[in-house]
């Protein structure tokens, strides 16, 4: 019943035997042990499972693994480069932008994708851009602050 898929995840090629109805989320979590990507609702309503597929934020819980093809999947585990955190990860730490932190992986991945399209965002733009991601602990203002901080850092590092 299962078929072997070739997936490119965090710049590594993986061959995984998956069932035809497997979601990208279950392949990441259960086949590849990349558990930083979370299950929150399974319905694309909370954003906890957000990953980047060719740079775009996608809900891995609604993405059939078989639909990914040769696209590159980036998960929270692949964000750190050579022991250096992504500026948005740093900004989350600096702003203390979490409580239980179960939403944090999805927030960061959604934020990374958002910043690509909005290098100089206002608070209102961040709120609109991140509105699909649920945080139940209510750390939204700190998450907005972290995204703004990362935007400044990214701009400085490119200047």
């Amino acid at each position: 019943m299962s078929a072997v898929l070739k997936l490119r995840i965090n710049n590594t090629e993986h061959s995984v035997a998956v069932e035809p109805d497997a979601t990208l989320l279950s392949v990441l979590r259960d086949r590849l042990d990349l558990t930083g990507t979370k299950y929150g609702c399974g319905e694309g309503q909370c954003g906890a499972c957000t990953v980047l597929i060719d740079g775009k934020a996608r809900r891995s819980c609604l993405t059939p693994a078989s639909s990914v093809g040769s696209a590159h999947v980036l998960t929270i585990e692949g964000l750190e480069k050579n022991g250096r955190l992504h500026p948005l990860q740093e900004a989350f730490l600096d702003e203390g932008a979490f409580q239980c932190a179960y939403c944090t992986s999805g927030m960061i991945m959604a934020g990374v994708a958002f910043l690509k399209d909005h290098p100089n965002p206002t608070e209102a733009e961040i709120a609109r851009g991140m509105n699909g991601n649920v945080c139940r602990c209510g750390t939204h203002p700190r998450i907005v602050a972290a995204v703004r901080k990362a935007a400044r850092e990214l701009k400085e590092s490119q200047a």
């Binding site: 069932e19 109805d21 497997a22 279950s26 979590r29 259960d30 042990d33 990349l34 558990t35 930083g36 990507t37 979370k38 299950y39 929150g40 609702c41 399974g42 319905e43 309503q45 909370c46 906890a48 998960t75 929270i76 585990e77 964000l79 750190e80 955190l85 990860q89 989350f92 730490l93 203390g96 979490f98 409580q99 239980c100 932190a101 179960y102 939403c103 944090t104 992986s105 960061i108 961040i126 709120a127 609109r128 991140m130 509105n131 699909g132 991601n133 649920v134 945080c135 139940r136 602990c137 209510g138 750390t139 939204h140 203002p141 700190r142 998450i143 907005v144």
Partner: protein
Amino acid sequence: MNTALQPGVVIEPERYEFREPPAYDFGLQRRDFFKLLGGGVAVFLIARNAPALPQESGRGFRGEELPRDISAWLHIGESGAVTVYTGKVEMGQNIRTSLSQAVAEELRVPIGSVGLVMGDTDLTPFDMGTFGSRTTPTMNLELRRVASVARDTLLQMAAKNWSVDEARLTAANGKIRDRDTGREIEYAKLARGQAFAKAVVESDPLTPASQWKVAGQPIPKVDGRDFVTGKHRYTPDLAPAGFLHGKVLRPPSFGAELVSVDVSAAKALPDVTVVHDADFVGVAAPSVEAAERAAAAIQARWKEVPQPSSRELFEYLKANAEESEGGREGSPRVVGSPDRALAADQRLDATYTIAYIAHAPLEPRAAVAEWNGGKVTVHTGTQRPFGVREELMQAFHLSQDQVRVLVPDTGAAYGGKHSGEVALEAARLARAAGAPVKRVWTREEEFTWAYFRPAGVIEIKSAVASDGTITAWEFHNYNSGGSGIGTPYAVPNQRIQFHPCKSPLRQGSYRALAATANHFARESHMDDLAHLVNMDPLEFRCKNLTDERLKAVFQAAAEKFGWGRTKPEPGHGFGIGGGIEKGGYIATCAEVAVDRSTGAVHVVRVVSAFDCGAVVNPDGLRNQLIGANIMGLGGALFEAIEFANGKILNPHFAQYRVPRFMDVPSLDVVLIDRKDQPSAGAGESPIMGLAPAVGNAIFNATGKRLRSLPMAPKGIKA
């Protein structure tokens, strides 16, 4: 101040800290166990002298009274690493950090050398559970005591080693120093090869908050990096070798009885374990998808029973109030002569209603269970690891030593994770499969099969003199609960009563319990009374208050908000609300904007002032305050569980609206750091001020008084 009803005192036992018998009862399986706790270099024992809190108790602990001897252990390793063992659990309230600060403070070690082992029933001392805002007032204090005794012991050991007077020695930065000679010795060296056992006495002097160096500081989350990198493993992330995914068969409606079940098609699927044991039907399979297919292949017939719906909820509750006259939980508390007083002055009566709401923690209930030699080990996200151990013992007829429950730092609970059904499900499936089984509830299961914050009806009768003095106050709460039911205002004539009711839905603890509903009703009513006598709502509150700490937070919030100094622009309104609960004093001001054409309500701005005694971590506290206000926004404006005939009608985030980024107002908090007062918990009471502040602001903007939570699920009808 009238003495019979002290502000902030819970006058009714809180019945909604969740307690229920276990969901299943499986047969006996008993085998020997082995102890897991390895030896430590030094362990300190502490005498627990805090009495159990009857209103917060969970299920009875059979044969296990609250131990009188141990409440926390502290261990200093040979590397100098300090490990503290506590039965409390971390679920986002940031106690891993705040408790580490407490230990570092008293032990005089860098915070980085302190590690906490939390919520492991084999390794940590018994604990009733992490709820009721008890961690800071009790466990924080106990860990300070145990660390203080540890420091004294190390000082004594050094004095003995060096044969000098202990008074010459000081402890700092993980070392003992001899003031006279400048000689130093590290704790690690002193502890090597030793083992201590020492009881803490109540009178141990602790470092006063005014002298704190590590406690009281805005220390960042100690393991924050694990969360921004996705490394931290919550329960659903655990993956023991060869584990299977579990699913259980759910009835089509609450109370439905299983008439017959055919599991043969599920059994025929490859690599699937099927369990049918009494009313429990479940499957385990190597993938989520395979488990879902197997569960879908089960044919079951159910007998459903008619049940009430949310449309008739409040009439149902009133009609199903338990006979309470003379009962312990339901007897009225009367001060003065409320009946006479109600007839004497300007009278204002009103009824308020509160819908059921769901906790909806982003990490659903989950458990990973594994059997080994007759012992079951279960990792699960719960607020009550020892309570879940008890449930497993009862369900599987096991002894205490045959069950170990561990709680990985959890993706929140908000009062919703007191019970252990997911642990039982995983354990039952794991026993049948002979392999570890992981159960993660789906979002729909979480919205349906957990329990809810109780719905309620609140009736208030009141009278006020023309000078603004409240002369009579009668308050009846049906079903919602007794927490925060007593008024903090000085009223000479009162009747206050909680009426337990038969609840159509399963209900239990929720952040701040009924205090949110009771404060919504009381503080909305206070606003109406203020208008009745043409007084400013803040002035009216202060006139009727004698509690200086509550007055101070009202004034601090108002000052920061600009209350009385600015007028709301057209379509906007200002409101204020507050109260006392669990040792915390909260006042919240809100500004709302109401769109006159659509009726949409947007909360523009919120300012809260909070006093919880000496602040242990101002950064964590601000996070809690802002989070409580945002969470409170959902219950205030739009969260409500809809149900009919035993079915939840909105069990998805697409239908059950929770606060999102675009709902979030500008938020500001004022911390009143009372270093002269003991530290109280802060995870719950800050939520109470938001709903009444918003409701009062809506009234200010529109002249419309909203007396039902949620107030504006679809905006305000013109």
